[in-house]
Symmetry: C2
Subunit: 243 residues, 2 copies
DNA sequence: GTTATAATACTTGTATACAAGTATACTTAG
DNA sequence: CTAAGTATACTTGTATACAAGTATTATAAC
């Protein structure tokens, strides 16, 4: 019996979420953090007991995670895939792809409102750092990019984003929490990258946008390995899902 | 009481599908064909009665359709969004985006096996036309592009494809069924476009690939309006989901 | 000891039951 | 006739029950 361990996902972000959503968010965090190791077989019944809910919301959660490619639904049980370095690179491939696409649309429309909105979010990010709030910083970081994507009103690009977002959010959350302790200096660079991004949108300079985007991603990717190893280490002492 | 009307989705493609999947495939076809009009509010209970299954598989289906952006889940009922011209253009935006990305990867690997596989599929497509089988043709057409995407082993590009595929498949099915009657000559052009695509992959000519891809899409998009209007007309005489 | 068969304890998928909340419609008071 | 409030008939989300199928384990035969 595995009981009452800490929840990894910020509970205040789940104020109006259904049980199924709660489970999906928490399970996703545990998988991406490595707390539930890749290869683990999850059983609906065990998860239901673990989260103290019925199988209905569990099934819902598993369907969601399967559509995000972090688990694989099989005949008997759900196999955890997780995020290896390969998958993380792939996620950034897709981000680069869709944000480039979005930028192409952006240069054709009025971006004054957007730039204002992004500046506001950037301010929020700075304050989050000031108060050492990694979770809030992550939230604003994700919101920053989401705001850009929303601005071009492309429902199928948005669909891709919506599928990618939860996994990315989880990954960024874990990454930022770690770096806030180990590498606070990273945050100033992230901020300046985002400032560059805003500037690229303002003056509609494609090359500058690509540059800032790449730097932003490279920055995150450069730190992946550290995070990864430490998360894996961290998870060794934790009771696993399957007995 | 709406009863025993024809199923739009080929039943033989659902041999091993769960009730939830069956419902999702059929509902998708009815929405995309316009048989269920945009704006319609779907009720889980009514759908359950209509499809003679319980609410469980219905809920499953609605979740899927919502993730594909063709319905919107609200407090009371699911609102049908459907596919307008805008959405269809957006789908082709995304296809162009991901297939271009895939091609960039393709030019770096050995494509002999892929070209062989694609040639086989093309032969199948020709035979499908010969026997006037629009459904089989559609299947092979979708498979053609899926095969290309699979070949680069990119799980997150594949994720996008998997989200897009059902909607596209439905749309292509409806489109091809109509054109087989009205515009059989279209098919020879589609075939030659695909031949061009294979050639582009074989000689790894990016421009040729983009050209064939664009022509292929323009071809489909050019015919959208016709299909659209006729489908809308067609649906006028049909009993709707909501009484 | 090995193999085959049978029993058991799992698995998922679907149906049904129930609870909490929301919109609608009706009734009653003014 | 209008307005307010209540009752009713919906809605979703979750829990539970059941059926069909699969893997595993134990038992029995050789």
């Amino acid at each position: 019996m595995t009981e009452s361990r800490e929840f990894l996902y910020p509970s205040k972000w789940l104020s109006k979420a259904s049980a199924g959503d709660r489970v999906s968010y928490e399970l996703r965090m545990r998988i991406i953090s490595g707390q539930i190791e890749s290869g683990t077989i999850l059983s609906e019944n065990k998860l239901a007991a673990d989260f103290a809910v019925s199988r209905s919301p569990i099934r819902e959660a598993l369907k969601i995670l399967a559509s995000e490619n972090i688990i694989r639904l099989e005949r008997m049980g759900a196999v955890v895939i997780g995020l290896s370095d390969k998958e993380i690179e792939e996620i950034y491939d897709v981000r680069l792809l869709i944000e480039s696409f979005v930028f192409e649309r952006l240069v054709r429309i009025d971006t004054n409102e957007l730039v204002k909105e992004l500046s506001k979010i950037l301010e929020m990010m700075k304050i989050s750092i000031k108060y050492g709030d990694a979770d809030e910083f992550s939230y604003q970081d994700v919101l920053f990019h989401e705001t850009i994507i929303h601005s071009v009103n492309h429902s199928y690009i948005l669909m891709i984003w919506n599928n990618l977002k939860p996994v990315m959010e989880s990954f960024i959350l874990l990454s930022m929490r770690k770096r806030l302790k180990d590498k606070v200096e990273d945050f100033t660079r992230i901020i300046s990258n985002h400032e560059l991004y805003i500037e690229a949108i303002r003056i509609k300079d494609r090359d500058l946008m690509i540059k800032s985007l790449h730097e932003n991603f490279d920055d995150v990717q450069g730190k992946v390995e550290d995070l990864w190893i430490s998360q894996q280490m961290l998870s060794k002492g934790v009771v696993q899902q399957n007995d």
